[in-house]
């Protein structure tokens, strides 16, 4: 396995204060990310699964410092980047980049795609136009877009092509880690496969690490080495891909697995979770999942389970596993 720890996240929290009234009285917090810890090694893909409202997108953005963390630490190659000022953050931007969910909204409709992809280079001081164009051309080639199309505008491309352009833009500064926020959710199935293959090829060729955020386990399967399952701001299970699929320990993981898109094993006794995800403004006491858990114990609504290792490399936060 990879011994180079690229990214270490420790007890990261991102709260959004809720205010009311004319003088903005602070009445509570939306605890979007509430104490998340994990690490990613060089060249590794960590898949982050969770449903809407669990805070995975917020987590991705906070790591990128697009949102300021409320508490906790993010360490890149040992350097704490949570408290870096704007200038020092510039180097962080070259190391970590993001691919967004909606290919339509992620490209400025008024810029040619060549300009969009080259923007990173322009910001970082590659002012010579021909040099920039050369680099943009190579990037577009790498993601499978014809170079002649660089002068065209986003609306002239299909969804899959736009996503490729987004990937090209993310690669412009040679990052080591890419946070992919649901990069294939908005695409058709056959195009999804193309993009996932592209990402796998790029990982092999460039030694990229991915934080792959998705809401469906089946999509994450092919790319991930390890998988983290998130629920209402906390990670409930973190394990290798094999462990997650063969031996899911947290009831939520089990439910997700049974709900994942598949054509086989149709009569496997689906676990149906009752109700909806509770609001992150008012999470349930004790274990956050207990209101929908099909295996809850009396202790679950009193005490929050600790996130601990039940087997080497396999961590779970559940009373059933202690």
């Amino acid at each position: 396995m990879h011994n180079n720890r690229l990214l270490e996240v420790e007890d990261l929290k991102k709260y959004y204060p809720v205010t009311t009234g004319f003088i903005s009285r602070h009445i509570g917090d939306v605890k979007a990310v509430d104490g998340v810890s994990f690490e990613i090694s060089e060249g590794e893909t960590l898949g982050l699964v969770g449903e809407s409202g669990c805070g995975k997108s917020t987590l991705g953005r906070t790591i990128l410092r697009l949102e300021e963390p409320t508490a906790g630490e993010i360490r890149y190659r040992g350097v704490d980047i949570t408290r870096l000022d704007k200038k020092a953050l510039r180097f962080w931007r070259r190391e970590v980049q993001m691919i967004f969910q909606d290919p339509q909204a992620s490209l400025d409709p008024r810029l040619t795609i060549g300009a969009s992809v080259g923007e990173a280079l322009a910001i970082c001081g590659v002012t010579d136009e021909s040099e920039r164009f050369e680099k943009v051309a190579r990037l577009l080639e790498k993601v499978g877009i014809e170079v002649e199309m660089a002068m065209h505008y986003p609306h002239e491309f299909s969804g899959g092509q736009k996503q490729r352009i987004g990937i090209a833009r993310a690669l412009a500064l040679n990052p080591k880690l890419i946070i992919a926020d649901e990069p294939v959710s908005a695409l058709d199935v056959s195009i999804q496969a193309q993009i996932l293959n592209l990402m796998m090829d790029l990982q092999e060729e460039l030694g990229l690490a991915y934080l792959f955020i998705a809401h469906d386990l089946s999509v994450i399967r092919h790319l991930s080495h390890r998988i983290a399952v998130m629920y209402l701001g906390k990670i409930v299970e973190l394990a290798s891909k094999k462990e997650t699929f063969d031996n899911p320990s947290h009831p939520y993981t089990q439910a997700l697995l049974s709900a994942a898109a598949t054509l086989k094993e149709l009569d496997r006794g689906r676990i149906l979770l009752p109700g909806d995800v509770p609001s992150p403004l008012n999470p349930p006491p004790g274990c956050r999942f207990h209101t929908r858990c099909h295996r809850r114990l009396p202790v679950c609504n009193r005490e929050e389970p600790r996130f601990r290792e039940i087997e080497p490399g396999h961590l779970v936060a559940c009373h059933l596993c202690s």
Binding site: A193, L196, R221, H222, A261, T262, L273
Partner: protein, 320 residues
Amino acid sequence: MKVTNLRTYFFTRRGVVKAVDGVSFELKRGECLCLVGESGCGKTVTALSLLRLVDSPPGKIVTGEVRYDHLDLITCPEEELRRVRGKEIAMIFQDSQSALNPVFTIGDQITEQIKLHLGSEEKETRRQAISLMTEVGMPDAERTMDYYPHQLSGGMKQRVMIAMSLSCDPKILIADEPTTAVDVTIKAQIIDIFRNLKAKRQMSLIFITHDLSVVAEIGDRAIVMYAGKPCETGTVAEILRHPRHPYTIGLINCLPDASVTTTRLTSIPGTPPDPIDLPPGCLFQSRCSQAMPVCVEKEPLETIVSERHTVICHLYRGEP
């Protein structure tokens, strides 16, 4: 319902878009038919055409027959169609977010539907509304009646939509991608609702989706569509176990199946054709791994593979 050779074209400035080009099927009572395909294949337009909901201009149902009861829904007069719409054939649209009026409570919206079609009294309609909501699994139906749409989550709104469509006990329910915009666990719940509806009410479903796993769970029969034309029709079991058309095979292989362990996903290369500039011959040939010279020249004809399984592809020409 029996649909024969439905063709809906859109006449735009840049040319004619053949959104639906020759779709035929039969729908029996209590059966669930799935229209499967990717975006732009014409499945939504097919559903809209059944109830003559296509915007015309620029769209126009050029030819085809939709036999329901003793009527042809394509040519019957407006009043007959209005009687059928909502009451006997109901439709749930894709974006449940925008289908609900944000300034009315849920209760108001459901009871409006009931009052419109059944003309019952206030108390009675409220009771009916609550029972419908319970049927679709809405927790605490009584209190939800007084909520506004923005207070509900996506999954709940979807349930409200389904409840509203059931208000007149329709015989056919057309659902346009009801599981696409929801989370995975909610998707499971919604599929369950549909399954129960099918069983309890003997309701026929026309289910539009691009998600093959949903088709596998709830479909009885399916039509796989590509660029407006059907590729393969048959029972879901047949199609998924013995797919014949290269596109169907491609779709099945593309599925990042949670139980399959391969290192690389098979994908279908290329992109769907420009609907205005369709190539001659088979529309899929530019992406087909088994394309033959004849595929570029002539459009394939329907071949019957087995009882209730047909495929439209040159590979099977002449096969019994």
